[in-house]
Amino acid sequence: MATITQTPPSQQKVEDLIEKYGYDDHFHEHHGEDKYQSNFLTKYVFSQDHKMIARQFLITGMFWAIIGSAMSLIFRLQLGFPEESLAWLKPLLGKWIEIDSTTGVGTLAPEFYYALVTMHGTIIVFFVLTAGLSGTFSNLLIPLQLGARDMASPLLNMMSYWFFFLAGIVMFFSLFLSTGPFAGGWTAYPPLSALPQASDGSGAGMTLWLLSLVFFVVSVLLGGINYITTVLNLRTKGMSMWRMPLTIWAFFVTAILGLLSFPVLFSGFLLLTFDRELGTSFYLSDIFINGQALDAAGGSPILYQHLFWFLGHPEVYIIILPAMGIVSEVLSVNARKPIFGYKAMVFSILAIGFLSFIVWAHHMFMSGVNPFISNFFVVFTLIIAVPSAVKVFNWITTIYRGNLRLNPASLFAIGFVSMFISGGLTGIFLGNSAIDIQMHDTYFVVAHFHIVMGVAAFFGMFAGVYHWFPKMYSRFMNDTLGKIHFWGTMIGAYAIFWPMHYIGLAGVPRRYYSYSSFESFRHFGEINQFITIAAIVTFAFQLVFVINFFYSIWKGRKQTTTNPYGATTLEWTAPIESTHGNWPGKLPAVQRWAYDYGREDADGNDFISQLEPLKEGEVDGGGH
């Protein structure tokens, strides 16, 4: 609203402020001719510009999101309509649809069902919600919001994308293997993942899965070390840590988590590769399979689980923290209010980041670790509820007495808060080992993590895409389609995942191809049908987003003012048309924190840009 009721500071005023207080790094004297973006290949493909790399991450992420969620539709069809023929999928899935020669009924092969489940998890967790979310927005916003020309190392940044791309190629290739892609669950627990005898997908499929994820780890590390370095070293004049927007804090902590945890995953994978290829037995012991007793002795499958979840749990926060940062920013801008309790928000991000490293074994309460050890993990896990609660209360209070603009970005941010509450609260059940005895590996868990880190993270991502789309394409996405997308997704996502809680309470295990043989599990046909239909409808709403996205790149409403939302942060002081180096002349200098919304500036705007000097006697950070 503020964009409309008040005049945004003219570009002229912004330029004056930059000229007056800004910092001259002589950038354009050195980079007068932009040798990095001189031709099509270096501009659009092997680009070293953070904004282009951000777009590459985003579109690649969207590609994988469509594949990953389409996979879920196929296995949901099996769960919702086990009796119906899937013969019509034969042209797409080939031999994985088994046609009964007498009735003509096509059924999904169980091994491919498990391959789909595995790929769905792997793709969404790593390719979409890690690379697609953090990769996109860390790249786009860290330099722009910090007032930097680019990332600390544009070359590493480019390599980060291309390793991700390579990871994607390898994973994509594995879908077409005659033995199928890996089918042992996205956590890839050995011995199932270590022994080709144990599952078709554990042969070549697993080899490619490992290779792909090794590339992916490299991508995350190259990206992460770049984000951290940029945040620490390339903040513009006046941009102290305490003046950084919460997005940057979130990306910063996310990158640290990634840098500390992905190498542990890597080492876990390395040992797994040794077990697979070199005959070691880090994870294998006492195994008799396919009529043969293996030589492996003394290994522990639980060791892999420790290594995996030492990444796996921080990974959850690697996914959710960027979404939290985006939501904080989008809510504050659109509520025209400072984010409530900025420092509390920062400390809770730090607290969550720290705690995420000492809770991993809560995924393993029922895995055979010493029950005594679980005591510690229960305590630390439930402590996470405290900073999480603080964040929720702060978001809600940010809206309180605001002047809220309801657009797709803010709606998705609000939806995020709702999802985070719903999914976060069920975490309190699961984090308590006593309750986890019954809930572990049931649909209750599926409901929990899909809502809290699946849907919520997607909502954060959508909020970010709608909000910063102009910074990527100098155009806006269509608002009406965005709102249709939001309400369809909001209702659809709850319709999919809420009923799963009840199935989980009944003790129904996840990762079941069919429930028909179990008296206790087979009476949920109706709920499963409902969930499947809801999933199909919700998927259709995502197509609306995809269409809106690509249509708007070329045909969307043009951005006419540099600061359309009346935002305080630096990305909205850069020219509409993005250029190499982000600012044409000097770098902007920062004079105040990022959240002076709801305060009048000299021109009667309801915000004060970070460029504006503090008035005499004014305390920075929203003090009075």
């Binding site: 144990a198 309790g341 900025y342 002047n403 005895i437 206790s520």
Partner: protein
């Protein structure tokens, strides 16, 4: 056909979306950005209020609708002693989180409705409020403390292993692709040692038969448990990870190859009692098989089940076993019917280390009861020809008259005892051989063998005057001498009642 429909749907969505996009962009230009934003605020703030109401009513309605799946309520009651603790923790958490859920969702959507921008409205500048923040940090911290303390108390009591001298039934469940193998500890209540390298076609668990503890272990097809008795399940895996999941008993634990785990629990309701409690609910009055409306009802066909809850491959969803909880008496009867896996399948095969031992101590009962029965029917028989029976458990070293007293003692000791109880009975012990070798030698050997038995019985206190030993040589075959089996049958010692 379906493929075409799916494609058409996608194209339709695309066309509609593009048209909506174009029209709204145009309308926006005509109405002006401000008006568009204000009307968007109006519409979406109302939608958010409607959503809040529908969502909260929906969640509460659905929770009510599916109340039967709430733990510790209705039919979904725990069937184990510890289950109630866990269910209580669940419900306690549900109360706390339910309150927070409803309050925060109401605040969130209500604020969206209340503070959506209206013409001329302004926001209130407020950056933080230390007091508020301390309050809403402290409250969750206190609540969490309660949940942690309660949860850990329950956890540590559930997961505690049994004391060494505690009375407990020892069972083992072993996961494999894709089935469970159950093993009961048998009479000694001790599970015998295993080595995965010993696994073969007839020894699915790799039991080491030189460990006596293995000899009485049995492998039933169903998990049968007595009500009210503590059970310790040792959980292992043969190949990949599995998970021993008994949802009705609130039991779940991974089966890890190389690292045995355990779970201790006490069933509290028999299958029959559980069925009866289900019969009170209308949902369970439906026919169990929808195609057979007259057939048994759901509650009648109910069974506790064992499932696998850790992805183990393509057959993960099919690792079902039936669990039966029965009264203690029924359990004892069931156990007595079970035969040890060793005796039923391994005894006498190549893998049996006691192949040379004709009778093991554990087979004494069988030998004794067969001997008693044989004696009884001989005693009662009218026909003189039927007053005789074979001593099938009396063995001699090959080619000699030396009694294999270790294996033979079970039958002979029993006979000595029987003769002591029947002092008027007089008997003849007859030795027989097959036709291999020299007839004269056979005659001598059969006589010597009969005397060995005679001497053994005499040493056990049977009066020599009641017994005679006769050698019949190869003259009275009861089977053909042309096969090894027939010859084995012909080599025998007979027990004949001559006076009673």
């Amino acid at each position: 056909m379906t493929t075409v429909v799916v494609l058409l749907c996608i194209i339709l969505i695309a066309v509609v979306a593009l048209q909506v996009g174009k029209v709204t962009e145009l309308a926006g230009k005509i109405r002006g950005e401000e008006e568009v934003q204000l009307s968007s605020n109006r519409a979406n703030s109302r939608l958010s209020l409607i959503f809040m109401v529908v969502f909260l009513v929906g969640t509460i309605w659905s929770a009510y609708h599916y109340k039967n799946w709430m733990l510790w309520y209705g039919p979904h009651e725990a069937a184990s002693a510890h289950g109630g603790n866990l269910d209580f923790m669940f419900d306690l958490t549900l109360v706390f989180t339910g309150i927070v859920f409803i309050l925060t969702q109401i605040l969130l959507f209500w604020f969206v409705y209340k503070y959506a921008g209206r013409k001329g409205s302004k926001s209130y500048f407020q950056a933080h409020d230390t007091k508020l923040e301390i309050i809403w940090t402290a409250i969750p911290a206190v609540v969490m403390t309660f949940l942690v303390v309660g949860g850990l108390d329950a956890w540590n009591s559930v997961m505690a292993d049994v004391d060494p001298d505690e009375e407990v039934i020892n069972i083992e469940a072993t996961g494999m692709q894709f089935a469970w193998i159950l093993r009961y500890a048998g009479e000694d209540n001790k599970l015998g040692a295993r080595d995965y390298k010993l696994i073969d076609g007839i020894n699915p668990l790799g039991q080491d038969w030189t460990d006596d503890k293995n000899l009485d272990d049995f492998q039933p097809s169903d998990l049968v448990l007595p009500v009210g008795k503590k059970v310790r399940v040792r959980i292992t895996s043969r190949d990949v990870l599995h998970n021993f999941d008994l949802p009705h008993f609130r039991v779940k634990m991974d089966a890890v190859p190389g690292i045995p785990t355990y779970f201790v629990f006490t069933p509290t309701k028999t299958t029959e009692e559980y069925r009866q409690s289900l019969s009170e609910y209308p949902e369970y009055q439906q026919p169990s098989d929808p195609n057979d409306p007259e057939g048994p009802k759901l509650w009648e066909t109910f069974d506790y089940e064992l499932a696998c809850a850790e992805l183990c491959g393509k057959g993960h969803f099919s690792m079902r076993k039936i669990v039966k909880v029965v009264s203690e008496a029924e359990y004892e009867a069931w156990v007595n019917q079970q035969q040890s896996y060793y005796l039923s399948t391994i005894r006498g095969t190549e893998g049996d280390p006691y192949r040379d031992t004709k009778v093991l101590p554990m087979e004494a009962g069988k030998v004794e009861s067969e001997t008693t029965d044989a004696f009884k029917s001989a005693l009662e028989a009218e026909d003189a020809a039927k007053k005789v029976f074979q001593l099938s458990y009396v063995f001699f070293n090959t080619g000699s008259a030396e009694l294999d007293s270790g294996s033979s003692k079970y039958q002979l000791d029993k006979l000595a005892a029987i003769l002591a109880d029947n002092p008027t009975v007089k008997i003849e012990l007859g030795g027989h051989t097959d036709n291999t070798g020299d007839a004269e030698n056979n005659q001598t050997l059969s006589k010597a063998r009969a005397e060995s038995v005679y001497n053994y019985l005499a040493s056990k206190g049977v009066d020599a005057s009641r017994m005679s030993a006769v050698g019949y040589g190869q003259n009275s075959p009861i089977d053909t001498n042309d096969t090894e089996e027939g010859r084995a049958n012909n080599r025998r010692t007979e027990f004949k009642i001559v006076e009673q």
